[in-house]
């Protein structure tokens, strides 16, 4: 065990004898969205919306005071009866829910139970405009990783101030010590003749609500 470790490290050192100094990483790539088309926050948010929709996920904008109604409407549209939510989901998000039972997450909800539910509502940590991605880090309103995975429908609430332009901006905001899930559209596969099919093992439907200030 340690013998293997020592031997591999010794081989690496022997292999690198006389090797050049490691290079500095040239970071001339764009860290922010540039150009005249991204002058305002609204442009970045618009790009996010467009890119999420490209993945055949549905995306809608709502005002902050309409969020409860929008969440309820989305769930009614799915005819959802029982859903799961992270235990710290803001109460207001579910305030208008009528006829839909929302179970707060607990360790008693194991995968087979979650698989029988009609969906999940979560927030996110960061969203990326350039790639149409939402990132969950298990923080506020996000819960355990399996919540946004096992149920077949995921409704994700994104506040506009969570949307950044680029991948480097997102990496800068995220905490590597939290378990992260980057989600770009519903689960998909291109394994059969490279023809894209949405919906395999992860949620087959992803809906994003962008909450304006």
């Amino acid at each position: 065990m340690t013998a293997a470790r020592e031997e591999i490290l010794a081989r690496v050192r022997a292999a690198l004898a006389g090797a050049p100094e490691p290079p500095e990483v040239p970071r001339d790539y764009a860290v922010r969205l540039g150009g005249p088309e991204f002058e305002s926050r609204a442009d970045v948010v618009a790009l996010f919306t467009e890119r999420v929709a490209d993945y055949r996920a549905s995306v809608r904008h709502v005002a902050a005071d309409e969020l409860g109604t929008a969440v309820a409407a989305a769930l009614w549209g799915r005819e959802a009866k029982r859903i799961v939510v992270p235990s710290d989901l803001p109460y207001g998000w579910l305030a208008e829910l009528d006829g839909v039972q929302a179970l707060a997450d607990s360790s008693a909800l194991d995968p087979p139970v979650l698989a029988d539910l009609d969906g999940v509502v979560t927030g996110c940590a960061v969203a990326i405009a350039q790639t149409g991605t939402v990132v969950l880090d298990g923080g506020r309103a996000q819960g355990r990783r399996l919540l946004s995975l096992v149920p077949d429908y995921h409704l994700c609430v994104v506040h506009v101030d969570q949307i950044v332009g680029t991948v480097p901006e997102a990496i800068d905001r995220l905490d590597p010590y939290r378990p992260l899930t980057w989600i770009s559209g519903p689960s998909a596969t291109s394994d059969i003749e490279l023809s894209r099919v949405e919906g395999v093992h992860g949620p087959r439907t992803l809906e994003v609500l962008v909450v304006e200030d």
Partner: protein, 478 residues
């Protein structure tokens, strides 16, 4: 300790022979041409929209070089970070050692079934076969891997291992080999994907142990990263109690920030998407969320040998995107099986011989499985100069044969040419002979067939008839 890279069973023929069989299969060529052209166009479209793509490639190459050129300290740092975050780190010198470690870890859980995320490293070491020998069933959960596993087939592409199968073939396979398949299943890809979802659902929900690879392992933080599309990866990385990740030592990145480069390069290069549907990152274990027992198996298996080669080591930058396969005119026609390794295509032609050595006829033939057109180098997101390494490895193949008791025909020919060209008189008389014989052999201004061993040259092309006199002869007379 000897590195081994899995390939089809039996004694695989050299590339040119295997390619002949593949080329005769018109169905295969149709499947491959359609698939490679689709993904090629998709990649080009999403790369073209990135204005700073070349800057990202520069950064990507430098990030990998930075890790590789101080790999010893990077690995030690990675080990420290993973252990601090609650994981356990194991080291494996070769495939057999890695398989033994994983087998004993699975046995310790008392489980006899594991679910697997698609991983090149575990394919390379033949892990599924080793687990089966120990009475442990490994279920591949990626759709293409499932197709390969159910069909007892061999992967032919890094990203889409079942690229050589079309929908009709996959339907027939599911009907034959997938328990509980719906009787009215059609060859619509959406229906086939739904059948796979139903088949694997139960396994995911009850699995206790999973095995993965990783696209990246970050030394600074101890974070592992897996990019995927279907959600099978998330299932395996999240639901079981125990997670075992087998990761090649070249997968390490120095810093968290380096991920901002790789997460832009990899999805666009491999699936031709701005971002793949799911990327999971985890650092050790998180109480109350996901596997509570995490093992990282660091795999050498010939990588340190490649690292020692100052030209060849650039191959270790590879992030397994498979863009080089998709643009390669040779791969497009022969498919992946002819390369006789889990790593096909241009990258396989430089990786396999470096990991396995060039002793076998197959491995010695791989550096020649290319026209050196350079399309692969143009698309490589980490700027691996594949043609340069191919030529370098051809040199190694020749070098390895120099000391054989019986020289190869090629070597005899090269030696006699060297002798001829070493002296002006010999050279000029040989030239005069060549011109005479060349003119005798030609018909209609072309030589269509050379005699003996030289016939290999004219098998695929004609030679122009040599002119009546050589430049030297003309010069002397003017």
């Amino acid at each position: 300790m000897t590195p081994s890279v899995a390939g089809p069973s039996g004694r695989p023929p050299k590339f040119s022979e295997a390619a002949r069989t593949a080329l005769a299969d018109t169905q295969l060529r149709r499947n491959l041409a359609a698939a490679t052209h689709t993904i090629r166009e998709r990649r080009a479209a999403v790369v073209d929209e990135v204005a700073d793509w070349e800057d990202l490639r520069d950064a990507g190459a430098a990030v990998k070089d930075r890790a590789l050129l101080r790999l010893d300290s990077a690995l030690e740092e990675l080990e420290r970070s993973v252990v601090e975050a609650g994981g356990t780190v194991h080291w494996a010198r070769d495939a057999a050692e890695a398989n033994a470690i994983v087998t004993s870890l699975v046995r310790a859980t008392g489980e006899t079934e594991v679910v697997k995320v698609k991983s090149m490293a575990t394919q390379e070491i033949g892990l599924n076969e080793a687990l089966a020998a120990a009475g442990i069933t490994a279920y591949e959960t990626d759709l293409a891997e499932l197709i390969v596993q159910l069909g007892d087939d061999w992967p032919s592409h890094i990203l889409v291992p079942a690229i050589h199968r079309n929908r009709a073939e996959i339907l027939a396979l599911f009907q034959r080999a997938m328990p509980g398949v719906p009787p009215d299943l059609t060859d619509d890809p959406a229906e086939l994907a739904a059948a796979a979802r139903a088949y694997l659902r139960e396994r995911f929900l009850t699995a206790k142990v999973s095995i993965s690879g990783a696209n990246f392992a970050i030394a600074e933080t101890g974070t592992l990263v897996v990019l995927e599309s279907e959600g099978n990866g998330r299932m395996c990385l999240t639901l079981p109690d125990t997670l075992i990740s087998v990761v090649g030592i070249e997968k390490v990145l120095p810093a968290w920030r380096d991920l901002e480069v790789m997460l832009q390069l990899l999805p666009r290069s491999s699936t031709g998407e701005r971002m793949n549907p799911y990327t999971s990152t985890w650092t050790g274990v998180t109480p109350g969320d996901g596997p509570q027992d995490f093992h990282l198996v660091l795999l050498d298996n010939g990588r340190t040998g490649a690292l020692a080669d100052e030209v060849g080591r650039a191959a270790l930058r590879c992030i397994r995107c498979s863009a080089c396969l998709n643009v390669c005119p040779v791969y497009e026609r022969t498919g992946g099986h002819a390369y006789g390794s889990v790593y096909p295509g241009p990258i396989g032609a430089i990786l396999t011989p470096q990991l396995r050595g060039v002793q076998s006829a197959l491995d010695a033939s791989l550096p020649y499985a290319s026209t050196l057109c350079g399309a692969c180098a143009d698309v490589c997101p980490v700027r691996i100069d594949i043609p340069e390494i191919l030529v370098h490895l051809r040199g190694k193949v020749v070098e390895s044969r120099r000391h054989r008791p019986v020289p190869t025909p090629e070597m005899l020919m090269m030696r006699s040419i060297a002798w001829t060209m070493g002296d002006r008189g010999r050279y000029e008389s040989a030239l005069a002979q060549t011109v005479r014989w060349g003119r005798l052999l030609s018909r209609g201004g072309r030589i269509r067939r050379l005699p003996g061993l030289l016939a290999k040259w004219t098998d695929a092309r004609d030679l122009p008839m040599p002119p009546r006199q050589s430049f030297r002869a003309w010069w002397r007379r003017r």
